[in-house]
């Protein structure tokens, strides 16, 4: 009877301690998550500032693409090529989501596979963007169209570059036991960041290539 009582008391103490640790983690996680979402919103503000500057410049001239001093109209950007590059980036968003879901299922091999696929697709997107810069018929200083294009897509490309580094760090951390099946805020933040980068590209794709 005494042994059973002692066992119950110990069990209760362990349960209380375990739950209090989890509650502490959950509270900390919620605060960090809120902070990260606020960071993403602040990034939206930065992109919005540049996008509205682009809209202002675009509406301040009678023709778009603008006509140069030489009298010829600048060509539109290559929509077909950008469409392929866009699907590569959107595809990386889908693989990142799969990586996150794999982690939640505790399927580490699948997680590694999907995360590496995301990194490869991100690098492929940057490579495609680099090729487009190389073959572009506008320059940064040559026109408002070129200045807007290189500034906004460059800012986005920088975010993708940082995202790739972020994902590489997450890959290393996940394989060194930093995250567990119940504590993986870094992976959640990485997934949100990568989705955010994808969604910003939706706006840029529409503004520069479709409109």
């Amino acid at each position: 009877m005494a042994a059973a009582s002692s066992f119950n008391a110990t069990h209760e103490a362990i349960t209380v301690r375990y739950n209090s640790v989890d509650h502490a983690y959950a509270e900390q996680r919620d605060i960090r998550l809120l902070g990260f979402v606020l960071f993403l919103i602040s990034d939206v503000v930065i992109f919005s500032a540049f996008i509205f500057a682009y809209l202002y410049l675009r509406n301040s001239v009678p023709n778009w693409p603008p006509i140069t001093k030489g009298g010829h109209q600048l060509p539109r950007f290559d929509v077909a090529y950008a469409a392929i590059n866009s699907t590569i980036l959107f595809g990386s968003g889908a693989t990142m989501h799969s990586a996150m879901e794999s982690w939640k299922r505790l399927d580490k091999p699948a997680f590694n596979l999907w995360l590496l696929a995301t990194i490869v697709l991100g690098i492929a997107f940057l490579g495609g963007q680099g090729y487009e810069y190389h073959s572009a018929q506008v320059t940064w200083a040559g026109s408002t169209m070129g200045a807007s294009f290189f500034t906004l897509t460059g800012l986005h490309g920088f975010h993708v570059f940082i995202g790739i580094i972020y994902l590489c760090v997450l890959y290393l951390q996940a394989n060194r036991g930093v995250y567990t099946g119940s504590k993986y805020f870094g992976l959640t933040a990485g997934t949100l960041y990568w989705h955010f980068v994808d969604v910003i590209w939706v706006a840029l794709f529409f503004l520069f290539y479709l409109w």
């Binding site: 060509p75 290559d78 469409a83 866009s86 959107f90 889908a94 989501h97 955010f196 939706v202 479709l210």
Partner: protein, 70 residues
């Protein structure tokens, strides 16, 4: 820039169309699967997945020539 030949552009459009169908379908499936999940991170993820699926629709419309004048 718009220097691609007609054949090249057609091939690129076709590839983009197929990719967008695959990625858009996958994203929509993931969104439907997570639809009932709760919590701030899941809500933001659903919003972003939805916008990504919208991006795939834009690519499809561009590939078939409805948008962008391809």
């Amino acid at each position: 820039m718009e220097g691609a030949t007609g054949v090249t552009a057609s091939i690129e459009k076709s590839i983009a169309f197929v990719f967008a169908i695959v990625v858009g379908g996958t994203t929509s499936f993931q969104l439907a699967k997570d639809w009932k999940s709760t919590g701030l991170d899941n809500q933001v993820t659903k919003l972003l997945l939805g916008l990504m699926a919208f991006g795939c629709i834009l690519v499809i419309l561009a590939a078939v020539g409805v948008l962008g004048g391809v």
